[in-house]
Symmetry: C2
Subunit: 116 residues, 2 copies
Amino acid sequence: MVQYKIARLDASFAALSDATRRGVLEQLGRSDASISQLADKFHMTLTGMKKHVGVLEHAGFVTTEKVGRVRTCRLGLRRLEDEAAWIESYRQLWAARFEALDRGVEDLKRREKTSA
Amino acid sequence: MVQYKIARLDASFAALSDATRRGVLEQLGRSDASISQLADKFHMTLTGMKKHVGVLEHAGFVTTEKVGRVRTCRLGLRRLEDEAAWIESYRQLWAARFEALDRGVEDLKRREKTSA
DNA sequence: TAAACACTGAACCATATGGTTCAGTATAAA
DNA sequence: TTTATACTGAACCATATGGTTCAGTGTTTA
């Protein structure tokens, strides 16, 4: 299997493991938004939302820019390439494994072992 | 965007956010393994590995079966379909968004707003 | 200038996570 | 029958997470 940037995968899968953060990403896909707007939409305090945005920003999924007193959040440049690649790679591994199982190879091995 | 099983996505992305657990999945893609073997390979106590396997099992990625004193771990039936689908859906959203940006639509809007 | 707004940071809280050790239980091997 | 193996569960630990409140700071608006 290909070698990925481990820490980055850790951070991005962790970032995606929260429904609120996935929601924020989907929202920012529709339009940019301020922290306040996001906090309002997801029924959360400003401070709470700021933390989520911080996580997304740290994972590279979001960038922010403060103009005046408003901080605007936008989708970042990362497009989940590494994550998609890991998952795709795993799916191939999985398919190959179960194909082998279907052929009965593994079952046979197991039977030989237990009957030995 | 399509509606996914939220709790499941939470659990599976969380499960994937740890390098050891991703490693275990890749290992199990090559061959089944006992808890001891996995613990050994990932330089960890039996108890620690058992917890990781528990997380993967809870997320549906792994199934286990105890025969005698050995618990054998195998890949489960889930093949990251929902996860792949979410990511793909996000990538499309992202692409559409940046395509719009490229066309300058957003930039124009922003300029109109600030100059108003 | 005064009041309202948008954010920021520190502190706190409960719970989860990733790991350990230690004390078992059950099975297999000598 | 003793001993070694493989796992299990409880307890513990440090740190992270997801949320809050409260007390600011800086910006608009009236």
